[in-house]
Amino acid sequence: MRFEDYYRVMGVAADADAAAIKQAYRRHARLLHPDVNPSADAHASMARINEAYEVLSDTQRRAAYDGVRRRHQAAAGKHKPAAPDLASDWQQGFQYEGAPSAGRAGGEGFSDFFTSMFGRAAKPEPPDAKPERGGDEHVKLVIDAADATTGAVRSVSFRSLAPDDQGHRAAVLRNLQVQIPKGIRAGQHIRLPGQGSAGRGGGAAGDLYLEVQFKDATREQSRDVLEALPLAPWEAALGGDVTTKTPAGEVSVTVPPDTPHGKRLRLKGRGLPGATGESPGDMVLQVEVKLPASTLPGARAAYEVMAAAVGRDFHPRSGGAA
């Protein structure tokens, strides 16, 4: 298991006070928040910052972590294998109750290091514990538009709190198979009752909320489905019926003559199914005119014929036509 240097992650000194740690967290949150940072690794980076902040902003957790860190550094200085016994380290007079903060800015998922150190309660649940409902868990579920179009079963991995064999509450990794309902839209939540963290003292388990996102963010919340429609130049120029593959299967569409690159053709009612009483969305096909390479047999000669025939009257950089 890799040791996590939370001070380095946060970019603060080991003796930084609470205000400096909070200031560093805010600085990172502004830069890395997935809502404002579109880069692919922003989510993972924010998750690391969240984890570091969870530890360094909590006095008890920070004290326990500092002890492990000192031993790690001492072991590394003596060229010994840097593998402190995290479980026994943190159990020395340190108690942890509850899951990491819910809803912190972007990024779920804590490292094995964090879970090993803070994911297990120091004492087993007392037999006379008052019944208390378990916490709800939130997980983002990224799916293909095709899953929403046709429905699908997808697996979901997340950590939730559950009692182990000794009665300690521990963060355990769970993997569920979930039915994706046909017609689900980005931003909608699927609620799975009783699949969140276990309750205490016989209390009910919390719920699991899956927030649906599409891999292609441009698909947004509409029931319309946007797909590319690649066309050969002659198909776009002359028009006619073409067939194309979409997540909903093969569809046939009539291309009008002189259809320009980028034009959107709408197939009414062929998008995502609507909820009860609502009409389905449309399938929107965006034309992409693909040029044959001049190296293809006959292509160069055909381009030369076209250039000779229409080159005098066709000016693509001044509006397209003469």
């Binding site: 198979q177 039915q179 939540h189 609620r191 799975l192 699991l208 927030e211 963010a217 947004e220 009860t276």
Partner: protein, 96 residues
Amino acid sequence: MNDGDVLVGVVIDDATLTLDELACACGVSADWLSQRLDAGLLACCSGEGTARRFASPQLHRARRLLAVERDFDANQELAALVVDLVDEIQRLRAGR
């Protein structure tokens, strides 16, 4: 139930949440939500008083309000402004 079974959940836009369920899902008190509802920073999707119901957009917004308030020590009006602006950025990026 085993983790290997296929689970069928409920899309919460079809079966909406009560105020207490929304509070539970956000990890906040019902009072916290009521304050933001009364201030017009959060809306319900249907009903009035104790019959108010909430769906995915309200759950999403409430959790983001909470994150901004907590992470930046923002007051509730400022947090709502930030969430509104982030929504606007996303709408513009999506070309809507």
